[in-house]
Assembly symmetry: C2
Homo-oligomer: 153 residues x 2
């Protein structure tokens, strides 16, 4: 045991890296081997409601051209489908395919598994405290709201 308290930022980075690795590993095992970092964020952004490319660009903080490429690769891999938008002939509605929804629910599985494991080691109340602390910190910086989930760099 070391005396000094570790910088929280460092711990956050390490924990997040751990989660990312675990997600990658778990999804690979579940038949989703070739996921790139942004894929998850994009699928999450499209979600159950669908989204247009421009909305997604705003959400992820990248250009619509960048999103176009990203979406191409998601369509190729069978996670996303483009639907023509009846309300607005300019835009294309992006929706999750069943495979896309399946991927998201696998990701949730991994998260649940991780949390259960953590609860086992640090205790459920401690884990709750951790959750509350993080939530408060995040909300604090975003006017009480939760920010969109974006790739980190």
């Amino acid at each position: 045991m070391d005396m000094a308290e570790l910088p929280l930022a460092r711990l956050l980075l390490m924990a997040t890296r751990l989660v990312a690795d675990e997600l990658n590993e778990g999804l690979r095992a579940a038949g989703h081997p070739d996921l790139r970092p942004t894929h998850g964020f994009a699928l999450n952004g499209i979600g159950v409601n669908g989204a247009t490319a421009t909305q997604l660009a705003g959400l992820l903080g990248m250009t619509k051209q960048g999103v176009a490429k990203l979406v191409d690769s998601l369509v190729e891999r069978g996670y996303v489908e483009r639907e023509r938008n009846v309300a607005d002939g300019r835009s294309v509605l992006l929706v999750l395919s069943s495979r896309g929804r399946e991927l998201l629910s696998r990701a949730e599985d991994v998260q649940r598994r991780l949390e259960a494991e953590w609860a086992e080691h640090v205790g459920p109340s401690q884990l709750s405290a951790l959750r509350r602390g993080l939530e408060q910190i995040v909300r604090e910086r975003h006017a009480g709201e939760l920010p969109p989930l974006r790739p980190i760099w």
Copy 2:
């Protein structure tokens, strides 16, 4: 307030993103405007003891050619100097320049500022709990050790 507990992974991602933004912003303000994500990790890996390119490659989980490019850009920017290694003529010792050390200590400033701010909002004991929880979770998955600080993706 929402009833459902948010997935911890999501909170971690948001908090980490927050920290990353804050670090970028703070360092930009301190005269380090053009930092790329891996720069910080590399400088941290070199640290006060210095390191060789191959060591750094292992630490960051990338190829030594990749590291070579990375180090080039750090040398260009004046953060790192290459010293000839007396003990082993094949390898080159990478060390932080004074500007590099200055950068790291600015990063620590930002972290301290953030932690103080957090302590103010969630309370110091809550913050301690958060730190302990994260530390335990991270150590758990690395045989009790702290893993090296690596870029997340």
